[in-house]
Structures are given as C-alpha cells and as structure tokens.
C-alpha cells in the first residue's frame, strides 16, 4: 500500500506571511524522499501539510491523481503516519504507546497484540513492552516511536528528522535498520534531514527546500 501525492501552486501562510510556496511537487508512490534544507526552509511545514495538520491558503492537491479539497480530513490522516524528532511518548507502558494509534482506529485487541509483536520484534523492543515509557533511553524511545507508526501500516510515512536527537553511534545503527525496515512497509516515505549519509543510505529522491520554495528535486 502506498500513495502518490501531487502538489500544485501551494501557498501556506503563517502569521500572515508565506512560509511555503510550492509550484509543483510529486511525491512518488512507494519511494523514499529526503527533504533537505537549512533550518526555517519550510521542511516541517511541508511535513505538517502532508500529515493533514495544516491547510494551504491556495493550491491544488492530488492524491493518486484524484483532487482533494482538504488533507485535514480524518480518513486521510489515518492513511498517514508521523514520526517527530522528539518521540513524545505518552506516560504509559511501551505496549500502550505502540498500540495507541491502533486504539484510535478501534482495531480489535487481538489484532493489536499481533501487530505490536510483529513490529516490536522487528525493532528489537519486545523486552521493553512492559516498561514505562518514561524510563527509556533516547534510542529506545525513538524505536518505540517508530514501532508506534509502523504498526499502523501507513500508506504515507513522514519522518521529521527522526535521528536528530540521537548520538552518532545510535544514529548509525538506526540508519542500518531503517534501510531494511522501510522497504518492508511499502509506504511512500518522506523524511527530513540535514545528514548527507542518511540521504545516500535511505533516499531514492532528494527534495531541496530553501526559503519555503523547492530549489531542486533529483534522483539520489
């Protein structure tokens, strides 16, 4: 399952000023896109737009070639999974954290248990399931944040600098694992990063943003 998104003449304002102006961008189905650019270039705004958390003032959005009015619709949002730089786990057990999005979708408990086990073992966090999330290390917490989204089997996976808070050693380990795990999801993926190595290891396409505008979009 994956999704193709096309943005045309998109303008997003914040405090009355344009922070994102995209003339034309295609997010290709099933491919991995790296979003790069300096701080304040509009990377997070684009990810928020694609997550359905903000709406553009102007422009046209096509999903699988069908025009849509508003991405903030709950049905669309439930096709998307967002991982932020900070894991932002709930003050509950690791199991409950991984299951929370499935509970939002009212998935039966038996199915939830299967999904948690499936992704919990792939991410090597089965031994953490009963722990309180507040007791995890930074790397462990980010694994839980990834499992929490992978269990949802999103058609569009959005990662906002997912390695940004991790130390170099943990980051490299993660990178290696994600390279194996991302193709398993078959989701269309967009991740923002500052790291050239992450782009080379993971991405099929590189989208460069500067001052809220696409400055380049290339194959990696």
């Amino acid at each position: 399952m994956s999704i193709r998104i096309e943005l045309r003449n998109i303008i997003v304002h914040r405090a009355g000023l344009p922070v994102l102006e995209i003339v034309h961008l295609i997010i290709k189905a099933g491919r991995i896109h790296a979003l790069v650019g300096p701080n304040g270039a509009g990377k997070s705004t684009l990810l928020m737009l694609l997550t359905g958390l903000i709406a553009p003032e102007k422009g046209e959005i096509l999903i699988n070639d069908q025009p849509v009015k508003d991405l903030r619709d709950l049905i669309y949002r439930r096709r998307v999974g967002l991982v932020m730089q900070d894991p932002l786990l709930l003050n509950r057990s690791v199991y409950e954290n991984i299951a929370v999005g499935l509970h939002f979708r009212r998935i039966p408990a038996s199915e939830i248990a299967g999904q948690v086990e499936n992704w919990g073992s792939r991410l090597g966090i089965m031994h953490l399931l009963a722990r309180k999330a507040s007791t995890l290390s930074g790397g462990e917490a980010q694994r839980v944040a990834l499992a929490r989204v992978f269990v949802l089997q999103p058609e569009l996976l959005l990662l906002d600098e997912p390695f940004g808070e991790l130390d170099r050693k943990t980051r490299l380990g993660f990178l290696h694992e994600l390279k194996i795990l991302l193709p398993m999801t078959s989701a269309t993926t967009v991740f923002s990063t500052h790291d050239e190595r992450e782009i080379e290891e993971l991405a099929d396409y590189k989208i460069e943003l500067g001052n809220g505008k696409i400055s380049a979009s290339n194959n990696v």
């Binding site: 928020m48 997550t51 359905g52 958390l53 709950l74 949002r77 439930r78 998307v80 999974g81 967002l82 932020m84 900070d86 932002l88 709930l90 003050n91 929370v100 999005g101 939002f104 979708r105 309180k132 507040s134 007791t135 929490r148 989204v149 949802l152 959005l158």
Partner: protein, 218 residues
C-alpha cells in the same frame, strides 16, 4: 456524645452531598472550558483567562452576596424559590470552585508539550480522542485541580451561611454549624465538628491522592 447525635450525621452528610455535587458540576464545567481556553486562540481569550484567574481568589462572602441577591425573592431568579435551600448553597459553591477547577485545568493543559497534540493527530486521533488522551496524560495535575476545587467549597462558610441560612434539618452544614456553636459559646461542640470536618477533608483528599499517586512516574 456528639457523635451519637443524629443531627451531626445529617449535617455531615449534607456537607458532603452539597460540596460533592458542587465539585462535580465544577469539574463538568471547568474541565472542557479550561481545555478549550488552553488549546485554542480566539479574541477575548486573555480577558477570559484574567477573569478566571481572578475568580480563583473570589471571597466566598462576595459570592454569597451576589448569589443571594440573584436568588432573593425580588431578585432576577427569585421565582425559582431557591434561596435558603441546599440548591442555593450548591450554586454558590459552583461559583466559587468552577474558576479554581478551570484555572488549574488551563495550567495543567499548558504544561503539556504543545507538539503532543500534533503527534496525536499525526497518529490518526480524532478531535475527541485527542482531548481524552491529553486529559489522561495530565491526570495528575487534573486530580490536583479536583482536590483544590473540593477544598475550596467544603471549608467555606460565608456563602453557605448567606444563601443557605443555616436552617436546622434543611441547610445546616458543618461550617455553618461550627459558627453557630461558637456563637453560642459551645466550644466543645464546635471543636468536635471542626475535627469531623478536618477528618472528612483528609479522607477525601487521601482517596484522591492515592488515585493520583498510582500514576506517578517511577
């Protein structure tokens, strides 16, 4: 013995009932309103927050005066015949405790990471699921808000006296009974009632604290 006196139990039960209902109503009003104030932006929000914060320090006698004038026979709601009834005390106590619960709910919601809302929505939470999840996340300060709301009304005397009238078998509560016994010079009775009031406050807060601390991070 004071505790063999059926009047004492009647007064005690009425105190718990009146303040319990007032706190519950305050929670039903203050929790959603405080959440709305904390999470949304609209014109006049700052003024409302200032009014709520001022309301947290409202003197009970001033509330009693305002509610008494409203419910007085010649007042705007005099036709409801509520003055000197337990309902009048509940109304006055809601006016006292609702701003406390609302103000502390605002503080509890604003203490959460603002990105948590985005993350929950990014996991597919509906609006109501988002609100219930953050209430659960902020359950410790929200229980503190509930305790503060209850504490503000179980111990107040001015408003209960003014709108309830301290009528035996009808509107006499522990605090107004303590005032009466003190005025009569019956200090032993007043002290015993005071200890009973403290005991009730302790037991209810002990129960709420136990619930609260079960959720504390370890």
């Amino acid at each position: 013995m004071l505790f063999n006196n059926p009047d004492v139990w009647e007064i005690t039960l009425l105190s718990i009932k009146v303040s319990g209902i007032a706190t519950l109503i305050s929670l039903l009003l203050g929790l959603p309103f405080g959440t709305l104030l904390a999470l949304s932006k609209f014109p006049g929000r700052s003024l409302l927050l200032t009014l709520i914060n001022t309301g947290m320090a409202l003197p009970p006698v001033v509330v009693g005066l305002a509610v008494a004038m409203t419910l007085w026979r010649s007042g705007p709601l005099g036709g409801l015949h509520l003055i000197y009834t337990p309902s009048a005390i509940i109304i006055a106590q809601v006016v006292i405790s609702a701003p406390v619960v609302t103000g502390l709910t605002v503080a509890a919601m604003q203490a959460l990471d603002p990105r948590l809302l985005l993350q929950l929505q990014g996991l597919g939470a509906s609006r109501s699921q988002t609100v219930f999840t953050i209430w659960r996340e902020a359950r410790l300060p929200l229980l503190a808000a509930l305790m503060a709301g209850f504490g503000s009304v179980i111990s107040e005397v001015g408003a209960s006296m003014m709108v309830g009238g301290n009528i035996r078998h009808q509107t006499r509560v522990l605090t107004t009974a303590i005032v009466l016994e003190t005025n009569k010079g019956e200090f032993n009775n007043a002290i015993a009632l005071g200890i009973l009031l403290l005991l009730i406050t302790f037991l209810i807060n002990f129960a709420l604290t136990w619930i609260q601390q079960r959720g504390v991070k370890r």
